[in-house]
């Protein structure tokens, strides 16, 4: 990478944060030039043309339009460049992540609860392996929160009522701040934690050392039975409901003629609002689980349905 050749340049904690830092430097340089020019002119004019100072005040610039056009054009071109630069990095940061190592994040007043696919859960902390993209699937139990890791220059709001994907990757082991950046009530400033990035081997050690708990998918499987889902979706049931084996990640034809990809969001919506997107050739008979199931439980069910399609989680 050409960036290594910039003198004194520290590559960031990740590719993305390095990009943002570079952008920041670019913005700083532009700002410094503008401020420098402006303050120079202000100082120059204020000293040279202060009242009582005998100086040449004739031949004032009267025709102004070509000055106006030139500095308008200059600012515009400069801004356009910054816009394109910023936008391209933004799209890199927020690109829809591929199916990677998933971690579920549930935000609630006032804590972060993270859960690994193996069932290991943490409060106000997140352990991840380095140099490997991790996909966070985030949901909020109550109000809007915002998942913010300053060291990664990365942030995303977690809005109740929907899932939010975010990809993170850290290149250096260490402990990094995790903040809630969207004001969320009394203990907003207490909703902080840390992201611990570890070498992959340390990470797997850490995973195995955690309090033994069943993987998310198996907890989901248990819920699936407890909540009565298996009564209809299970094999050999009397009610005709779409089978869930292998459905995750596949296109699903809907009764209104459209198709959706059965991703986390679709599964979540189908549990909470089962009749909004009904699978073609099935009757809309499923009851809504809105208000009967917490975000934690939802995530387990999603993990279970994913596992039915042979996904690791």
């Amino acid at each position: 990478m050409w960036r290594q050749w910039i003198p004194f340049w520290q590559p960031g904690l990740s590719t993305h944060s390095g990009d943002v830092d570079l952008l920041f430097a670019g913005l700083l340089i532009v700002s410094a030039l503008v401020i420098g020019l402006l303050f120079f002119l202000l100082t120059l004019f204020c000293t040279r043309y202060r009242a009582g100072n005998q100086t040449d005040r004739d031949h004032r610039v009267k025709k102004s339009w070509h000055w106006e056009v030139s500095w308008t054009a200059a600012s515009f071109v400069c801004f356009l460049g910054l816009f394109i630069w910023g936008a391209s990095v933004y799209f890199q940061i927020y690109r829809t992540p591929a199916d990677e190592h998933d971690v579920f994040v549930v935000a609630k007043q006032w804590m972060w609860k993270t859960q690994h696919p193996g069932g290991q859960s943490e409060i106000d902390a997140l352990h991840i392996p380095i140099k490997r993209p991790v996909r966070l699937v985030m949901a909020s139990q109550d109000v809007i929160h915002s998942f913010f890791i300053p060291a990664l220059r990365l942030k995303h709001d977690v809005v109740p009522g929907r899932y939010q994907d975010l990809e993170i990757e850290v290149d250096k082991p260490g402990h990094y701040h995790l903040f809630c950046a969207e004001y969320c009530g009394t203990d907003h400033s207490g909703m902080i934690g840390e992201v611990v990035a570890m070498e992959p081997s340390d990470f797997s050690n850490w995973l195995t050392q955690q309090a033994p708990s069943s993987p998310l998918a198996s907890e989901g499987s248990q819920l699936f039975r407890e909540l009565g889902c298996s009564g209809c979706h299970g094999n050999g049931s009397a009610v005709r409901a779409p089978p869930l084996e292998g459905v995750y990640g596949k296109p699903v034809p809907l009764s209104d003629g459209t198709t959706v990809i059965a991703d986390d969001k679709y599964i979540r919506d189908s549990i909470l609002m089962p009749r909004s997107q009904v699978v073609a050739s099935y009757q809309p008979v499923m009851p809504s689980f809105e208000g009967k199931i917490s975000e934690d439980q939802l995530l387990r069910l999603v993990a279970y349905i994913k596992s039915l399609a042979g996904h690791q989680s």
Partner: protein, 535 residues
């Protein structure tokens, strides 16, 4: 004085509280705004004292949250938005266009009463127990989770909004219809162009705030509503509606400040404003394009990436006319004859601070950097550079400039210059560290914070102490001058504007005879000797 002026026509309370004279209404507004400024300022002081240490030692989290909410609500709706339009604008607009009053004087008085009603309701909400939603009232926190006086506070803001609309309406119609003979659009002082642009925003954006707050309050009252995620409502819709008002509101706050700066820069460099037509149209361009950028508050909220892209682009576009203005003010100084009276010091401070505010705005408009900087102290510093460094500084500048006209007295130039310099340094010491804090990632609205941020917070709190003293100073020397200052002549700055053609203070109906305008604005006589003012 032998002639009666607007202050001496009548001394009864009734003559003040039932007046339809725009000048007296301006004074009523002025008194109210000083009160609200110090209420909001007191909250700010408490916040800065609390943040001097990383732990919670002065107040609890709940109190802290109520403090910054109160600071925001009071400062935005009860100080910044009405500040220049309703005091200086109310006083100066009819004088500047050679009219005897605003188009609808009774509406003008009503607007003050509506404003005060809104203010009282909001103060009641604060005294009864406060609001802890932040000034942005984001749902679903405000509708379903907050245990504070949200509806009352929203009602206060809602009511005050009507006052804004009435003022904006009055200005628009006045500027269209009541200009003196010969006063064509291109002969209008630029202050009026910017107030006109401000009024357009007031009239077209405020109703959206009204309906948004109404929807929010309804949802809170009935426990179900349009933004409720439990029934499929979208909290982002609230943010869209809220920022459709609140981003243009930023321009409501800064455009009048820019307008004042035009007057000051040209008066104290004894030259016409460079590129008059460009500056005039830039005000309208800012007002119009300012409506297209609100989504830049939502780059990390989960709005669609396409929408973010459009809003970011528009945000860069709206920066262009602001940049043009800064360049034109600088060019105005070129080959001028610059006098460093107190108003000019404020104007120069404005140009510097506004430029820093504008440049930090570019950082935030830039999508990828905003992901890091939004909701941190970077944003706090940015908008304080615009609102406080820009607007409040311009307000003080304008206040000093027109003070002789308003009160008929001259203030102490020495104290005024001292205060201006002190404000400049206090301001930078308060808010520059916050830029750094933001870049390092300290989130805003944090009551306690990790200890590594303490150094910059202590600096900021120290600066705030200086700033607090500096803001108190004008209260004393201007207050003193209003009663004991030297009598001001009609035109102490030797300025050509119509407002200087009548006596100081002006008579009840402004002009004895209808003035007629025959030339462009800002035709300054170069050899002006400032009045010896150190009374």
């Amino acid at each position: 004085m032998s002639e009666k002026n607007y202050l001496t026509t009548d001394f009864t309370l009734r003559s003040w509280f039932l007046t339809t004279d725009h000048k007296r209404i301006a004074i009523l507004y002025f008194a109210s705004l000083i009160f609200f400024f110090f209420v909001g300022g007191a909250a700010a002081t408490a916040i800065r004292i609390e943040l001097a240490t990383p732990q919670a030692d002065l107040v609890s989290s709940d109190v802290y949250n109520r403090l910054f909410t109160m600071h925001g609500i009071i400062m935005v709706w009860f100080f910044l938005i009405p500040s220049i339009p309703n005091t200086l604008g109310n006083f100066i607009v009819p004088l500047m266009i050679g009219a005897r009053d605003l188009a609808f004087p009774r509406l003008n008085l009503m607007s003050w009463y509506v404003f005060m009603l809104g203010g009282c309701v909001t103060l009641f909400a604060i005294l009864a127990g406060g609001i802890d939603t932040g000034w942005t009232f984001y749902t679903p926190f405000s509708t379903l989770y907050s245990n504070s006086y949200v509806i009352v506070a929203a009602a206060g803001v809602f009511i005050a909004g009507f006052s804004s609309i009435l003022t904006g309406l009055n200005f628009i119609v006045t500027i269209h219809r009541l200009r003196a003979p010969g006063l064509t659009w291109y002969r209008l002082p630029l202050f009026l162009w910017s107030l006109y642009a401000t009024s357009v925003i007031l009239v077209l954006a405020t109703p959206v705030l009204a309906i948004t707050l109404l929807l929010m309050a309804t949802e809170r009252f009935f426990g179900v509503g349009i933004f409720d995620p439990r029934i499929g409502g979208d909290p982002l819709l609230f943010q869209h509606l809220f920022w459709f008002y609140s981003h243009p509101a930023v321009y409501i706050m800064i455009l009048p400040g820019m307008g004042v700066i035009n007057e000051l820069v040209s008066c104290f460099s004894r030259k016409e404003v460079f590129g008059y037509k460009f500056v005039a149209w830039c005000s309208l361009a800012i007002a119009a394009v300012g409506f297209l950028v609100w989504g830049h508050h939502m780059f990390v909220s989960g709005q669609s990436l396409v929408a973010s892209l459009v809003f970011s682009f528009m945000s860069f576009i709206v920066a262009v006319p602001s940049a043009i203005k800064v360049f034109n003010w600088t060019a105005t100084l070129h080959k001028g004859s610059i006098h460093f009276d107190a108003p000019m010091l404020y104007a120069l401070a404005f140009i510097g601070l506004f430029t820093i505010g504008g440049l930090t705005g570019l950082f935030l408009a830039c999508l990828a950097y905003d992901v890091h900087a939004t909701d941190t102290y970077f944003v706090v510093a940015h908008f304080h550079y615009i609102m406080v460094g820009g607007m409040v500084t311009a307000y003080f500048g304008g206040l000093h400039y027109w003070w002789p006209k308003i009160t008929g007295r001259l203030y102490s130039e020495y104290w005024a210059r001292t205060a201006a310099v002190l404000i400049f340094f206090g301001f930078n010491l308060t808010f520059f560290p916050q830029i750094i804090l933001g870049a390092e990632g300290m989130p805003r609205r944090y009551h306690v914070y990790p200890p590594e941020f303490q150094v910059w917070n202590v600096l900021s709190s120290g600066g705030a102490a200086i700033l607090a003293v500096a803001y108190l100073m004008p209260l004393f020397y201007l207050g003193y001058s209003a009663f004991f200052g030297k009598r001001a002549p009609a035109n102490p700055w030797d300025a050509p504007g119509l407002e200087w053609q009548t006596s100081s203070p002006p008579p009840e109906f402004n002009f004895e005879t209808q003035p007629v305008v025959t030339r462009e604005p800002y035709q300054y006589n170069e050899r002006f000797e400032a009045e010896p003012q150190n009374a």
